[in-house]
């Protein structure tokens, strides 16, 4: 079982729609990172959140870290085809060897 569960696993939407993807765990994380990965490339960091309740905005993307630092969400407003990709969350669990653990990812397709 994944330490970090991402949902949904797959999402196919039309351009202009809004969406939210989730990253959940029973563990507490000292920090949580979101990456986007395009086909044939390595993941690229979008944002890192470190404080419970923290909200960060990156243009049309809004990231939230849960108050208890066990979960996070990524909301995209007015999705565009360029948002297509695999979204990965990753967290550092101080009680699990202090390693960075990745979730299974949400594969997003935005159709024009």
């Amino acid at each position: 079982t994944q330490l970090l569960e991402q949902s949904p696993q797959f999402l196919s939407i039309q351009e202009g729609e809004n969406l939210t993807v989730y990253c959940n765990s029973s563990s507490v994380f000292s920090s949580l990172q979101w990456y986007r990965q395009e086909p044939g490339e390595g993941p690229v960091l979008l944002v890192a959140v470190v404080t419970g309740g923290e909200v960060k905005k990156l243009k049309r993307l809004t990231f939230q870290f849960g108050d208890a630092r066990k979960d996070s969400s990524l909301h995209i407003t007015a999705a565009q085809p360029g948002d297509t990709g695999l979204y990965l969350c990753a967290g550092v669990d101080n009680n699990a060897g202090n390693m960075l653990t990745f979730g299974g990812g949400t594969r997003l397709m935005v159709k024009p």
Binding site: Q2, L4, Q6, Q9, S31, Q33, Y35, G40, E41, G42, P43, V44, L45, A48, L88, A90, V92, N98, M99, L100, T101, F102, G103, G104, G105, R107
Partner: protein, 112 residues
Amino acid sequence: NAGVTQTPKFRILKIGQSMTLQCTQDMNHNYMYWYRQDPGMGLKLIYYSVGAGITDKGEVPNGYNVSRSTTEDFPLRLELAAPSQTSVYFCASSPIRWDTQYFGPGTRLTVL
């Protein structure tokens, strides 16, 4: 700066063969990591290094070996390739332990 470079991009191995996946970074990062990504999945940590001469096991180290003789290079060795090692391998580096990961483009390995 080239960032993190990996060679080769693609490789097909026969069962029992060995090979070394090369990884080099030019950002002077102390921390380097090897991950594998199976189809449709997130990333699993194989090995990591906190500096030249120091390496440690990650979540899935069996069947792999690493060395870190310089800050720049972190090669991953497969001694007896098995079909279960068919995957995409990513090398990453970071300036701070478990901080933002800078990924290479990946090596797609198939073991037949």
